[in-house]
Symmetry: C2
DNA sequence: TGAATAATGTGTTATTTTTACACATTAAAC
DNA sequence: GTTTAATGTGTAAAAATAACACATTATTCA
């Protein structure tokens, strides 16, 4: 934002000239807007993609669910606010987090003018120690997400679309899986996120060709069929190759 | 953002319980942050991709340029604020505009806490009637954009990266060209945006196969060589096909 | 204990997409 | 009318993607 400007049209100045004083007083007083972050937290459980929601207690939105969020503190970076919400809700601090979109329609919040920055987050449901019941938190199958409080359905849609896109460009999926996973797990995840069926052989070929999988030497346990190999994700290699990475297509 | 919540960890409530009253008072008083929009306005002229900048008059940023932006009015939608800035600066109202990212580091603005929502905009430099000189506005070759005021270089980089990506998925380029253009113009544009050389025959093949070009029957005038055909973009067809559109690769 | 089950693991071929590449044509400039 | 600097066009090689089947392995159940 430029702070001193003279807007001129047809040779004549229009609009006001803003000095540092002008804008400082604006910043300090009138033109202030409440700012929040909302997190769309994805998890993967029972071969289904889920989103973490909380029941809304507001009369206006009785029975509906909403995303997890909070107002941004005056001295807090945006990303820090999103991490704070995640930490508070999931107890996890090392999470995938990506800013997606900011929603600022004037009528979007009943408490007044609140602009919210939406974040997409991925967590491994087995790592977190959610007190689901006490917090009134729920893992919702994304296929059953219909109406949410506020404009949260719109926010959810934007984050889900972003996830679908991102996962075809970067191997984010590992953030949703346990440290060790089978190729079947991985494929189930991709199928759940993209909502399509994939050819097993081609899927394996593609992932092996990426060369980000480390064979742990271990096998699945307690499966009612031939157990598959367990792999882990080679984060170091991925970080190195990231710059040149142009994505995978399914 | 959920408004009534009890945060519980290890069975005990932590953090405050927010009621509608609580949050309403927060929204109305303490937790307010100034919000601005900043527009990265791209243009295409002399076969170069340009960005519209204004000279910063602040001592702190003397000699540097900054993006065009303004504070968001309390009763104004975010997108509306971005359109307002564009209209004010370019006189144009029918523009391509896309929200890109929100920048909210605490120390990013000297006047206090200002969070800014960055927009990427595309305009046809021949259509607009900028009073460049009077406004101290400048079209900058994107290759010469180095240091900008505030965190505007970071914002510019994000918007340019977004443009490079988007143009490979959707034919946005037409927003930067005159209504009638030659295939050479189109290719020059893509080469300028992506900063690569493209094979002429393959480029033509690709665009014809998309079937979004209408032959106007007219030819280039006053070129010192064999004139090329002039085409226009079939917006109607694109809008219809948009849903199924999965992008083009270069 | 062995037969049935339900998955894993593996390669090749056909199809599609992408890339590389050369020459005749046209209008303007000299 | 000769030179110049582009436009306009097709094909073949290479790479990527999609389609597809059977032997193997551990578990379950009779």
């Amino acid at each position: 934002m430029e702070m001193e400007m003279t807007v001129i049209e047809n040779g004549k100045p229009v609009g006001k000239i803003k000095t540092l004083q002008t804008i400082q007083s604006e910043v300090e007083s009138s033109n202030r807007i409440a700012l929040s972050v909302d997190c769309v937290i994805f998890g993967f459980d029972e071969n289904k993609l889920k989103v973490l929601l909380i029941r809304s207690d507001l009369k206006k939105y009785q029975g509906r669910y909403s995303l997890l969020g909070d107002l941004v503190y005056p001295n807090e970076d945006l990303d820090a606010a999103a991490y704070r919400v995640l930490k508070q809700r999931t107890g996890l601090s090392d999470l995938y987090l990506e800013q997606v979109q900011t929603f600022g329609a004037t009528g979007r919040h009943p408490a007044g003018r609140v602009v919210t920055v939406a974040y997409c987050s991925l967590i491994n449901v087995q790592h977190h120690k959610l007190k689901i019941l006490e917090n009134d938190l729920h893992w919702h199958d994304i296929k059953t997400v219909t109406e949410l409080a506020f404009d949260h359905k719109e926010i959810f849609d934007a984050c889900y679309a972003r996830l679908q896109k991102r996962i075809q460009e970067h191997p984010l999926g590992f953030n949703l899986l346990p440290k060790k996973f089978s190729l079947r797990d991985l494929q189930n995840l991709y199928e759940a996120i993209l909502d399509i069926k994939l050819d097993r052989r081609n899927f394996r070929k593609k992932f092996f060709s990426m060369d980000f999988l480390i064979d742990t030497g271990e096998m699945e346990q307690d499966v009612p069929h031939r157990p598959g190999k367990l792999y882990k994700f080679n984060y170091e290699k991925y970080e190195k190759k990231k710059k040149k990475w142009f994505g995978i297509d399914f």
